[in-house]
Symmetry: C2
């Protein structure tokens, strides 16, 4: 877990600002001049760093999906022999960290996927699918009475719950990161438990 201390490159600045703008106003709603202005250069200067506007979105979405999947794989691998319930807690924790720290990316991730070139979209979809399958396996270990279809639905719904972070602090500050994370974690576990509890 090497935390970076060096300054972000221009390329990283651009990606960060583009993510924020895309999340705020949609991919088609943001012009390249605007993205350039957000990092202090103007319009076409961006083309020294990216081949086009599409490429920025692609790199953002592939990056998100990849990091989510990589982190989840690591968490599952690290927990060899520990109870399945703890692995699920770890997955939930990782997703919450991501949802709280990178809210614009969470927004983009399920909103602008269709704006990608075919090849990029397929790649992102594949990464997302692997991520979901990882969750489904762990969830079914914890709640064996859940069928596969029900487990997959439950996982998608919990993603919806966890990804609600962009709406939480809208008209005031959220009560503090730790408290919010804990609340989301409890609710996710509660939702899974309720899914596995009954005639599903």
């Amino acid at each position: 877990m090497a935390t970076r201390t060096d300054a972000p490159t221009r390329r990283e600045q651009i990606l960060k600002e583009a993510a924020r703008l895309f999340a705020d106003r949609g991919f088609h709603g943001v012009g390249v001049d605007e993205i350039g202005a957000a990092v202090g250069i103007s319009g076409p200067g961006l083309y020294r760093h990216f081949p086009g506007k599409d490429a920025m979105l692609a790199e953002l979405l592939v990056g998100i999906s990849g990091r989510l999947l990589t982190g989840a794989k690591r968490r599952v691998a690290e927990a060899d022999g520990v109870a399945a319930g703890e692995v699920l807690d770890s997955l939930i924790e990782g997703h919450i960290d991501f949802a709280l720290d990178d809210r614009p990316l969470i927004t983009l991730h399920d909103r602008e996927l269709d704006r990608l070139r075919d090849s990029d979209r397929k790649l992102v979809r594949q990464l997302q699918r692997q991520y979901v399958e990882l969750w489904v396996q762990v969830v079914r270990e914890v709640y064996p009475e859940l069928g596969e279809a029900a487990a997959r639905s439950a996982v998608h719904s919990v993603f919806g719950l966890l990804n609600s972070t962009p709406y939480l602090g809208r008209g005031g500050t959220l009560p503090g990161r730790g408290v919010t994370a804990e609340l989301l974690h409890r609710m996710a576990r509660g939702a899974f438990a309720a899914a596995g509890a009954a005639q599903g």
Copy 2:
């Protein structure tokens, strides 16, 4: 509850197709020619029914927010004297019906709000806020140990859970409407219960 049997007007056709297209590719990603083609007329013919593209989005969003709020108010009013838990169940059921029957609208509802004119956006926000407050009141009756901020966060998160329906049937059919509705309902109640159970 008068169910309509007469044919939809041209205006209604347009709104329905526009909703689907906007949800699929985003407001800015759909041209008026495309919307026209979807209902069998072409491009500028739409201007006989709407003053502009913005007006279609506005009518869709105001309509959604209004119907959600009206339905919720009715459900709360009808349940005079019954247990708060049952009122919450009724609210959840209503929201699920909506999320399952009008998936494109659910998608639009929290995605394209910022594309509206100021006055329309304020109206929609106000309707949404009233809807949330209604839920918060009922939730706090059922789980009195929840603070107001926590209850509001919980409500938003459960909305995220229930609004995940667009992702459920993506690569196959969902297991049947009734089963899905029941699963979502259980998970929502489980999430609320978990939110109210602990040191929140």
